[in-house]
């Protein structure tokens, strides 16, 4: 175990904060990987996260007389949480399904998406004011923004939603 007894009291809050930021970033990543079913990554993150956590919690509990330690603990928790979310967004591991509903530009959108190398399935559908196109497009998560921009260029009024998916079988994925 790392001994925190020899560390000057003024520095301790900063160390606690740093530990907590790291362990919560890992923890948040872990939760997001668990949801997506990535077992090995979840194990590794869980191991290091709880290691850091035990160190941070012991140092806070043995120094509860200092209010700054407690604030650093909570502040590090909250900040690490947000850092973890940001890292996960940057990594963008996994697949997404984009659903686009466009009243008039359906075939143009499908065409453009295909030209860019993604797969698109177009379905005729009916909306409030008549026939519309529904396009389903399954892509890597990191390509979501690129596809979204293409759609926006053709039909800014298109209705677009994204959901995270787990592919069961490879159809056509650009990768």
């Amino acid at each position: 175990m790392i001994s925190l007894l020899n560390i000057p009291a003024a520095v301790l809050p900063f160390i606690i904060f740093a530990l907590r930021v790291s362990d919560m970033s890992l923890d948040t990543l872990r939760v997001l990987f668990v949801i997506r079913g990535r077992k090995p990554l979840a194990w590794i993150l869980g191991f290091f996260q709880s290691l850091l956590w035990v160190i941070a919690i012991t140092s806070v509990l043995s120094n509860l007389d200092n209010l700054w330690n407690i604030i650093a603990y909570a502040g590090g928790f909250a900040t690490g949480n947000v850092v973890g979310m940001t890292i996960e967004e940057r990594l963008a591991i996994g697949h997404s399904n984009i659903q686009i509903i466009s009243s008039r530009w359906g075939s143009a959108i499908a065409e453009t998406i295909r030209k860019k190398g993604y797969a698109a399935t177009e379905l005729p559908a009916r909306g409030k004011d008549g026939t519309v196109s529904m396009i389903s497009c399954s892509i890597l998560r990191r390509d979501v923004n690129a596809v979204r921009q293409e759609v926006n260029k053709i039909d800014p009024d298109a209705f677009v939603t994204v959901e995270d998916i787990r592919p069961l079988h490879r159809g056509f994925w650009r990768s």
């Binding site: 509903i101 009916r126 677009v160």
Partner: protein, 175 residues
């Protein structure tokens, strides 16, 4: 300044632990749900308060481990808070969901009813065991899901409904 547990009568400690732990875990559950939905600011605020409460409770339990009621209160608070968090999240019902309705005969009537209620809905033709069915997609605030469900069931008690968690793609993407 942290809570001085030695000043509290031993009989009251389990109750205090229970109450704080319930508060702690409801916030924690809400936090995880905000993380999954990608709401960073809410995640930070919930994380800060939650972890502040946690440090206070854990100190109380660890210093009073001789009383089994404290342990029981800690665990019961955890379990109760967890469920309470889910209930609160259901009540607040922020964000949107995508409702997918499959109806064998009453598709047009359901579409009519949804549009009249001011909801967006898109109908796609599908084929089921006994012929043509309608697949209706409706994107709505989570708060209104229950109302929509009733509306659909009034028109077709046999309708099959699934709820999909979707994310919105940034501003200006609602049709």
């Amino acid at each position: 300044m942290s809570l001085d547990w030695s000043l509290i009568p031993a009989a009251l400690v389990p109750f205090m632990i229970l109450v704080i732990r319930i508060g702690n875990l409801s916030l924690s559950t809400l936090r995880v749900l905000t993380v999954v939905r990608g709401r960073k600011r809410a995640a930070w605020a919930l994380g800060f308060v939650q972890s502040l409460l946690f440090v206070t409770v854990i100190a109380g339990v660890l210093k009073n481990l001789d009383n089994p009621w404290n342990l029981a209160a800690y665990a019961a608070g955890f379990a109760t808070g967890n469920v309470l968090g889910i209930i609160i999240d259901d009540r607040i019902a922020q964000g949107y969901s995508l409702l997918r309705i499959t109806s064998s005969k009453r598709g047009a009537a359901i579409m009519e009813a949804l549009h009249q209620a001011g909801m967006g809905a898109t109908e796609v033709a599908g084929s089921g065991r006994d012929g043509t069915v309608s697949l209706i997609y409706s994107y709505s605030p989570r708060r209104k899901v229950r109302k929509i469900k009733e509306l659909v069931l009034q028109n077709d008690p046999q309708a099959f409904m699934t709820l999909l968690q979707v994310r919105q793609l940034g501003d200006g993407w609602e049709g």
